[in-house]
Symmetry: D2
Subunit: 123 residues, 4 copies
C-alpha cells in the first residue's frame, strides 16, 4: 500500500529558466511531475526538447531529464524558496551521468558523473 505524500504547497507548474539560457515546462499531477526541458549548453539545439519526469511534495522537487540521444541523463534535487527581494527560485544541485563504453569502465567509470548547481526562476 502506498500512503499518500503531501502535494506541492507551491506552484511548480509552467515555465522556468536557469539563467544560462536553458528552460523547462513543468506539469504537476499531485506528486508526479512531467514536462519538457530545452538546454542551452552542450550539443543540442536550444529548441530541442527532452522529456522530464520527477516528483514534488511541499516545496521540494526532484526531476530527471532524458538526454539519452546525446549519451547522458541528468537529475536535479532542490527546493523552492523566496529571496529577500521576493523572487521565487528553485535552488538545485544536479548530477549528469554520461556513458563510458563497457571496455573502458574498469578504468574510467570513476569519471562518468558531473555535478553542478542550478537556480531556476520565472522568465
Amino acid at each position: 500500500m502506498i500512503i499518500p505524500s503531501p502535494p506541492a504547497s507551491v506552484d511548480f507548474n509552467g515555465t522556468w529558466e536557469n539563467g544560462l539560457g536553458s528552460e523547462m515546462d513543468l506539469v504537476v499531477n499531485v506528486n508526479l511531475l512531467s514536462g519538457e526541458y530545452r538546454t542551452n549548453v552542450g550539443l543540442p539545439a536550444p529548441s530541442e526538447e527532452f522529456d522530464l519526469t520527477g516528483f514534488v511534495t511541499g516545496d521540494l522537487i526532484t526531476f530527471t531529464v532524458n538526454f539519452g540521444r546525446y549519451g547522458s541523463l541528468t537529475t536535479w534535487a532542490g527546493q523552492q524558496t523566496e529571496t529577500s527581494t521576493g523572487q521565487v527560485e528553485i535552488k538545485t544541485l544536479w548530477y549528469l551521468t554520461k556513458n563510458v563504453p563497457d571496455s573502458r569502465e574498469p578504468n574510467e567509470l570513476w569519471s562518468s558523473i558531473l555535478a553542478g548547481a542550478g537556480t531556476f526562476t520565472r522568465p
Copy 2:
C-alpha cells in the same frame, strides 16, 4: 518534436538491493522507468513502498523516489557495470532534498541536501 533516445542496452527490470537492506523493483518501458523502493534506513518501515520514476538509456540510469510523507525526495544517477568477477552492479551517486520550513530557509537552506553513493546488485 522529441527525437528518440537509445533504449536500455542492459536489463534494468526486476529487483535490486543496495547492501544496506534497501530494495527496489524496476520496470522499464523503452526509456521510462517506474517502480517501487523500500528503504532500510531512516524512519520508514522496511516494508513500506515508495513510488519511483526515472529514465534509462544504454547502461545509464537516473531515478527519483518520492519519500514525501517523510519530508524528502531522493534522486540517483549512475551506470550499470560489471565487476572484474562478473557481478552486475548499478553504481550511483544520489542527492536527498529535505524540507526546511520557509521561515528558516534564509539561514538553513544551505543545509537541505544530503549526498551519498550507492551500489545496487541483484539479490
Copy 3:
C-alpha cells in the same frame, strides 16, 4: 620526486565573501593555500575564525575548513571565472562531513554528508 604544478594564474589572495555573510581570507604560496574562514550560518559566531588549507593552480581552487569544534569539516572545489558584466567570481561545490557517533554509523553514516554550492566574490 614531485614535479611542479602551474602556479595560480589569477589572484586568489585576500578577502572573499559568499553572499550569505560568510567570509574568507586567503594567502597563496605557489600552489599551497592557507587562510581563515568566518561563517555566517550554523552555530559559530560570525567573528569566529576557522583554519583553511588547500591548493590553487591556474584558476582552479580547492580548500577545506576545520569546523572540528562544531563536529564537521567542509571542503570546496571550483574555479575562478568572470561574469559577462566583468565580476570576478569563484564558483564552487562543497561537501560537509559531520560526525555520526560510532554506535549509529551502521544505520546513519549514509546521512553524514551535506552538499551545496557557493559563489565567492570580492567584498
Copy 4:
C-alpha cells in the same frame, strides 16, 4: 583567536588504498593532515606522487590533492568507520575540478566538476 578543535580520535596515519589501485600516505599533526597521493587512474604514472593537505577531527577527514600539472584538483570528505566484519574504512565523496579555458567558461564551466565516491582501506 582560534579555539582548538578535537584531535583525531582514530588513527589516520600511514598508507591507505582505494581498491582502484590508488594509494595515499597520510601524516597527522593534531588537526592538520599532510601526505602524498598516487593515482592509478587517468594520465599520471602510478608511481607519480601528488601533494595532499587537509584536516582531521574525531573520525572525520577532508583532504585535497594537487593534480595541477594534469589540470585538476580533487577534494575528498568523509568519515572513518568499521564494517560489520571489523574492517576499518574511510568512506568518502569527492569533487574534481578541472580547467576550462577562460574563453569557453561562459558555455562550459557548468561541466567542470566531476563527482564520485571512494572507500579507502589499509593495504
